[in-house]
């Protein structure tokens, strides 16, 4: 789960990090009043609290030099969708004059199976671009997850991005705080970009934290309904998630259902191979019940992008007869399927499954290639 900038900064404060003074403004609140209460004056930065990447480039961060600017920019930003998402909150933050912008972040290195810290003296720009163009400018340090980030390692990172003296020790403190937050909050990613160097101090102008969804039960205070504003999901993806479906919207017009992510992706590939374009990815997972199958089929029938539907099931734990029953249920509930459906059934109880389908006039193939060919003819 992605946290908002203001949330990540609140958490960082608990780790002793100094963040810029700020107020959080909801739509309808008077930003001037709130700023005055907090002792905050222009110049300030007004920041759209959306979870999409590239918010700055998309115009979601504005400098306000006067009280009038604040009023105007707050109204402007509340009405401005960033990559399709309008913010529910704005963060108004003191402007921090600075010359040097650093980058620091951390993720889990899958190959090394260790947290890895990434840092660069070239913050403030697209760090991925820098990683591509000047890979040597990105410092990488692995951390033993049991021992934790040692103080000398934190200083070493700072030294390698060119810091010395008091700035170095302030950076090391910040990095340690960020690492501790990353570990204690089950981070998939924690980063600050840019991390401003102001004199000897380091100040996170932005902060990001993505928490592992599988670990959210350990952080109940973070749990919330943010699907709509995450910017990660389309309208139909949100509908699907609410129905418990693992669904991703794509650009084509052929609805895809598979069991298992690998097989479902492969089904998409197969459709492409034969000239079709998938409208979605929908994985019913292992051991799906008839009820789930019904939900999935009904959902793709409703989903306006699909013109026809291809369902590719290889029964392992999933039983083909159960799948067939689910399809029939959908058919019964909807009266009839408005869109053509081609089913491939193989594996556990495939014959029972095909029999059920054929009784209801639905084509069921064993060979996926034949099935795709038939699909493309429809």
């Amino acid at each position: 789960m992605k946290l908002f900038e203001y949330e990540a900064k609140e958490i960082l404060k608990k780790y002793g990090v100094k963040v810029p003074k700020s107020v959080l403004v909801k739509k309808g609140e008077d930003p001037i009043e709130k700023m005055k209460q907090a002792g905050l004056e222009p110049p300030v930065v007004v920041k759209s609290q959306v979870l999409v990447a590239g918010r700055g480039k998309a115009g979601g961060i504005k400098m306000a030099k006067t009280w009038d600017d604040v009023k105007r920019l707050v109204d402007e930003l509340f009405d401005k969708p960033i990559k399709g998402i309008k913010p529910r909150l704005l963060l108004i933050e003191e402007a921090i004059p600075h010359e040097v912008e650093l980058y620091v972040g951390m993720v889990i290195d899958r190959s090394e199976r260790k947290p890895v810290i990434l840092a660069s003296k070239y913050g403030g720009m697209d760090i991925e671009e820098i990683a591509r163009e000047k890979p040597e400018s990105i410092i990488r340090v692995h951390v033993d997850p049991f021992i934790g980030l040692k103080g000398y390692q934190a200083r070493l990172v700072g030294k390698k991005i060119g810091l010395t003296g008091k700035a170095l020790s302030n950076f090391a403190k910040f990095l340690t705080a960020l690492y501790n937050m990353f570990m204690e909050y089950d981070g998939e990613l924690a980063e600050s970009n840019p991390l401003a160097l102001v004199g000897d101090e380091v100040i996170p102008l932005d902060a990001r934290l993505i928490v592992d969804d599988n670990a959210l039960y350990r952080h109940p205070e973070l749990a919330k309904e943010i699907l709509e504003e995450s910017g990660e999901y389309t309208e139909w993806e949100i509908k699907a998630r609410k129905k418990g479906l693992a669904f991703v919207e794509l650009d084509g017009d052929i609805g895809i259902i598979g069991n298992g992510a690998g097989l479902t992706m492969t089904t998409m590939d197969l459709v492409y191979e034969f000239g079709g374009k998938p409208a979605n990815f929908l994985d019913i997972g292992g051991g799906a019940s008839a009820e789930l199958v019904k939900t999935a089929v009904s959902f793709l029938v409703e989903f306006p992008k699909t013109k026809k539907i291809f369902m590719n099931i290889f029964g392992g734990i999933t039983r083909c007869d159960e799948v067939a029953k689910g399809i029939v249920k959908a058919l019964e509930e909807l009266g009839k399927l408005e869109k053509p459906l081609v089913v491939r059934l193989a594996g556990t109880n495939e014959e029972e499954g095909r029999e059920i389908l054929e009784k209801h006039g639905i084509e069921a193939f064993v060979d996926p290639i034949e099935a795709v060919k038939r699909l493309m003819e429809l």
């Binding site: 889990i108 089950d186 670990a215 992510a261 690998g262 992706m265 998409m268 990815f281 029964g315 193989a346």
Partner: protein, 292 residues
């Protein structure tokens, strides 16, 4: 021979009294797996499909000192602890079926197991099978047949599909490992390949990859450097998946420009590996590779 698992391996099932644990214990027993004990805290003294249940792995091992492998079906919140318990009790192989384990926990128990010399498969994996010998996992046993082909796969159902395709063409398998789809897993492509390289029964290998991560690239590197010398055929799922979208598997995110379909295929082909466009081409490519 096969790798990691054969008809003599004595197995403990952790979480045996749960719905999944009990169900798959039955299927594994039917397949011929030597399950000697089950463990569920607080359920010691019961029996599941004739298998005695203990409160702790320690107790199970005391009664069944020849047990060397464990398969874990316990819920995500307790799975990490089950792995530690299995490792501390001296298991050499631990298969973690459980999905939704927090990645920071997996990170830790995998590092821990490695230190102690225990092989972990998974988490979030279908397990492994040495066809005709034993099954330590949740895959449908009947789609696999005994033979000389090794399979290492990041994907579950797709592995069954491929195993089935091979079996139908008379190309049986030595051992089939579903290594799991999570970001951090206990056994990678290259680690499993080291074992297949040494297995005299395995004559060729099928790698079933996915977009995301760099395991396929590392496998290619290993082959290029001559550290894996048997014929290899690969398939990569997700050729047409849009970059950056989550595809159900967290493992399928394309990060930092690495892990693209094209990059993986290029790396593998440069290492002399034939990459199938669909799973159904694999048997034919394998036949060609074995002929050389």
């Amino acid at each position: 021979m096969a790798i990691l698992l054969d008809e003599k391996t004595k197995v403990i099932v952790q979480g045996i009294t749960g719905r999944e644990g009990s169900f798959h214990t039955k299927l594994m027993l039917d397949y011929g797996t030597k399950i000697v004990a089950g463990v569920t805290p607080g359920k010691g003294g019961q029996e599941v499909h004739g298998v005695p249940v203990y409160d702790t792995v320690e107790e199970a091992v005391k009664e069944h000192p020849d047990a060397t492998a464990s398969i874990i079906f316990v819920p995500a919140r307790f799975a990490a602890d089950a792995v530690y318990e299995a490792v501390d009790a001296g298991m050499k192989l631990v298969v973690v079926i459980t999905e939704h384990i927090p990645v920071h926990e997996a990170l830790k128990f995998i590092n821990y197991a490695k230190q102690k010399g225990t092989t972990v498969i998974g988490p979030n994996c279908p397990g492994l099978i040495s066809p005709g010998k034993a099954k330590l996992g949740i895959m449908p046993g009947h789609v696999f047949k005994e033979g000389p082909i090794g399979i290492i796969s990041r994907s579950g159902t797709l592995t069954y599909e491929i195993g089935y395709a091979l079996s139908k063409q008379g190309m049986g398998q030595s051992t089939v490992i579903g290594i799991g789809g999570d970001p951090v897993i206990g056994t990678s492509f290259t680690e499993a390949m080291e074992l297949f390289e040494k297995d005299p029964e395995t004559e060729a290998l099928v790698l079933v990859g996915e977009i995301g991560g760099d395991m396929e690239e590392r496998a290619a590197q290993m082959i290029k450097e001559g550290r894996f010398t048997k014929p290899v055929v690969a398939f990569i799922a997700g050729r047409t998946a849009p970059p950056g979208k989550r595809m159900g598997h967290a493992g399928a995110i394309i990060m930092m420009g690495t892990g693209t379909y094209q990059g993986k295929v290029k790396a593998l082909e440069e290492a002399g590996v034939k990459v199938a466009k669909t799973p159904f081409e694999i048997p034919e490519l394998l036949r060609q590779a074995l002929k050389k």
